[in-house]
Symmetry: C2
Subunit: 328 residues, 2 copies
Amino acid sequence: MSVGDVGERGLIDFFFTLIDRFPREVLPFGDDAVGVPFGNDALIVKTDMLVGSTDVPPGMSYWHAGRKAAVMNVSDVVAKGAKPIGAVFSLGFPPRTTMDQAGDLVRGLNSGCREYGLYYLGGDTSECSDLVVSGAVFGLVGRNNVVSRKGANPGDVVAVTGPFGLTAMGFKILLENLSADPRTKELALRTVYEPQARMKEGIVLSERNLASSSIDSSDGLAWSLYELSKMSGVGFIIDSIPAPKEVRTFAESHGLNYLDLALYGGEEFELVITVPSAKWNRAVDSVKVVGGTLYPIGIVTEEKYIVLRLPNQAEKMIEPKGYEHFRK
Amino acid sequence: MSVGDVGERGLIDFFFTLIDRFPREVLPFGDDAVGVPFGNDALIVKTDMLVGSTDVPPGMSYWHAGRKAAVMNVSDVVAKGAKPIGAVFSLGFPPRTTMDQAGDLVRGLNSGCREYGLYYLGGDTSECSDLVVSGAVFGLVGRNNVVSRKGANPGDVVAVTGPFGLTAMGFKILLENLSADPRTKELALRTVYEPQARMKEGIVLSERNLASSSIDSSDGLAWSLYELSKMSGVGFIIDSIPAPKEVRTFAESHGLNYLDLALYGGEEFELVITVPSAKWNRAVDSVKVVGGTLYPIGIVTEEKYIVLRLPNQAEKMIEPKGYEHFRK
């Protein structure tokens, strides 16, 4: 049996059984990042690898690829409530890569870091048949302020920090050549080429202890809900999916369901969180103060199903699927 | 111009000009690892990438490749005097990799970590055309105990923690099919397949503030001396090269110079350090107490040359060359 048969998530579950556990871990294995105690703080570390042939969509510049490699690591660190401090990047270049391309990649990495206040501290350079950018970002958060995927309780509000569906639309345009009006196309491609990590939102929620659980939605909204559900031992009733008008119109004109674009896309880097209902108003206000928006999308339930219950639509299950390496 | 024309070190120098500098860095850019202040301590972080096609010699198992990927990151952290705490690994697998192979790699990573007291905390799994293991290891050391590549002073003793030449001999046997008697071959291959990081030595030297500078010799002894020289602004007179008898015999029987094997090999992971002469005896004793050996190999000079002055041999310069990615 090959890793291609098993898929990324099966692999991770398998690896989990082979590794000795750190006795003082502050985040469970399989969370967005790892964490170790540092006095009253926790050091949160994330490593994520960008591979040219699978993670760099057509038309993305080296600068944008570098920036994205930084953002995707930052996103997981801030999803745990930590303030990112520094990053190291191991770079693998095919030897034919030009100096201009390599320089643009590094400039993009630097820009992606500086945008979120952290520094690109150093790293390593190797030869590789594929372009590989493997980052490790670390940050700090108070020991009692770490926000895990585990912690959602029945009755909590489920919320997201932004709309869903734009990146899936962008991938349909880029990879399947679907048409879109120029403004919609530009909007979609910008979300693909210039993803944003929700740092201010993640940090303010953790500082004020407002979120009971949190995950970065890089594998898609449906998959993120599934992970929160699995690790918290709860279910969800989702009664609203914040998809922009452009996504609905685009879906309609191509005979697609906008819900599929919003639920099963990925690479959105929004936070999917749960908030105890008593803290909901404070959470909304706190996120607004830092310039963000919290969209409530449902409620946490004891029953471990993830149900989509939209107005005037038949109730259905949200499937646990999303972007997965080794699965095409 | 491509990265293949410029070579790894030219690339690193170029990248250096493109990156905003962290204002509170505790290690200069280009040192073995990066460091940031954490209260009275410094957090030392190293990332190093192992690539299947260039870093895994013929006959090396997945388990050994995993272990090596852990050891090469640990080596740089302990060279700075830090005690490693945890590691994250981003893994890139060709889809045809079997589950047995992937599992062995992960078991090797875990073993490599546990051997040095740290934990494999988590990571990421991707699809890649080449096998890629990108590690990030972090550790702690007192702010005033960090040992940089910068700091060697004229008059200091230059020393190494082990002999040189065995890995170069191993590569000659593996890659060029040179013959060796079975015992010599086994010795050489063991150093290639099972490299050791000099953790106890690095930590005791830093705890007692005995080393004025330190570098991990993974790029070879000559290159390590060149880097120490460049960053400390000094030179060296090297009057002894600790090469095992087997290396001398092997070199002689193949018409090679054993000094080339010892100086220009690489992947040795010994520490190359400088020690103020007043602290030399304490350094030797301290390293002995933890089970290691310090071999004095020369002296630091004001003149920025790296001179090889062996008994009964003509003096010559040690060339700044060693293993370098993108340069074959």
